[in-house]
Symmetry: C2
Subunit: 291 residues, 2 copies
């Protein structure tokens, strides 16, 4: 399936979910929902969900599309809450106002809450096609975002004076990538757990790419402030290993990710796709360093 | 089943859910979770869930206990977020510090998010006993708290310049009561929709009781600030109808609620229990007015 087809399936599923949530109710909050989810960012996580589902046969595409939408809704919710003044206090996101900057804190808080709920509703609706897969999807996304190991836990580590940095990174970024891969497998009726490692490794690779962008790109390139890690005293792989070292680490992590793909009908194609993905993660200048 | 047994089942189910979420992960956030849920408030909504499940035969008590816990976790999450500075900015709740006052805004925001996730995880876990009921539970609680008609929508109406007051009250208070009743029916394998009206009417009754408490009680009596409706310019039934009128309206609403109980094996006992409940809603002085 081409990149365009994947994009189309993801946007269709998100549009369907948003339409359910915003068909009535308070108009400003409905606007904040839409602002949180559109226009599309990179949609890296839901692409991973669909790619894994396809590699597993994707015998019930209604379920994999819903799984991809649920994963992206949770990602959007985490961005909305993460941008708020009590966390990163970021006024910009994807090249325009963040949700709380555009709609105020109260509606941003509610939009994040509501998108979490919408994600679980979207997962539950797949029960019409397969109640056991629906339940397993719900469990997977709950673990990816909740306590003790999901995004919420990752954010929570930032309030500790002596956080466990490995648990912190795994929870804050890795958990939703792992959930995205597992959700794709579960949506296609496969055992989900063996797919977690692929997600964790891609999540780590994505984190390194994000570190590189934070150092090498301009705000105009990536639609959000750069140099934030230095400004906020956060760890950054480029500070640790240099640009060349960070770029090489990224390529290694992507290779490890490809190697971790479990046996399935589409394993070879998926591995090739993952390796090709490495270059999409990286800004051009860094890709030259990694060569 | 006695009141004590109901309480015990609710607290056990909540303890079990909290134990899953706080077994590891960042300790402060784990503390904020516990502070959000314990010690027990009135637990009115999960009692409604169990009472309805019992009236419907309660053939799978593992599911009804989980449903009750999920409903209460969502209620606690809404209180935590509602108390935050961008909403009511309340420093007290249940007679002690609100969560953001005790743990800071960041952890309060995360605790609310995480409790929403935990509620859906708790519902999804019932799939081991019955995947179809699990899915229907998830749908019911999603509708009770999400957009366009759940708690989040109710809160969202507060940001509109010309809110629809009927939709506002139904969404902010009624929706979770309706969800509580419907979840009880679904947990026992009954069709849930006919139970919504009971919940809405009890929710309206509870809102009137809350209005009365806000006017007639002291902060010490109810563990949170009083006189808030007048201070914040919110509608209050006592201002509209007087204490006697408000107390009578409450009794009527409870009577309507009892009348709306659908046919089921325990309908007579449930109706009696609902009528008895009216007196628990009311402070003593107001109960005399209603007599």
């Amino acid at each position: 399936m081409s990149v365009e087809d994947l994009s189309q399936r993801i946007e269709n599923a998100l549009n369907k979910a948003l339409a359910r949530a915003t068909v009535s109710g308070p108009p400003l909050l409905a606007g904040a929902f839409t602002h949180s989810v559109f226009p599309a960012g990179q949609r890296i996580r839901p692409r991973l969900t669909l790619s894994v589902a396809l590699a597993c046969g994707d015998d019930k595409p209604m379920i994999s599309a819903a799984a991809a939408a649920a994963i992206e809704l949770l990602h959007c919710a985490s961005l909305v809450h993460d941008d708020m003044p009590c966390f990163d206090n970021a006024a910009m996101r994807r090249g325009r106002s963040s949700v709380h900057a555009a709609y105020g804190e109260a509606l941003a808080l509610l939009a994040g809450d509501g998108l979490i709920v919408l994600a679980f509703e979207t997962a539950a609706l797949t029960a019409v096609a397969d109640p056991l897969r629906a339940a397993s999807l719900s469990m997977i996304i709950a673990r990816a975002v909740g306590m003790p190991n999901g995004i919420v836990a990752g954010q929570g580590w930032e309030s500790e004076t002596a956080p466990d940095l490995v648990l912190y990174q795994r929870a804050k970024t890795g958990s939703l990538f792992a959930g995205a891969a597992m959700a794709g497998a579960a949506a296609a009726g496969h055992v989900a757990d063996p797919w977690g490692m692929l997600g964790y490794r891609l999540g780590e690779a994505y984190q390194v790419a994000d570190d590189i962008r934070d150092v090498m790109c301009s705000e105009k390139d990536i639609g959000k402030p750069v140099g934030q890690d230095e400004a906020l005293g956060r760890p950054n792989t480029v500070h640790e290993l240099g640009v060349r070292g960070a770029a090489r680490k990224l390529v290694e992590l992507v290779e490890d990710a490809a190697e971790s793909v479990p046996d399935c009908i589409g394993a070879i194609a998926l591995k090739a796709q993952i390796r090709a993905q490495a270059s999409r993660f990286l800004p051009k200048e860094a890709a030259q360093h990694a060569a």
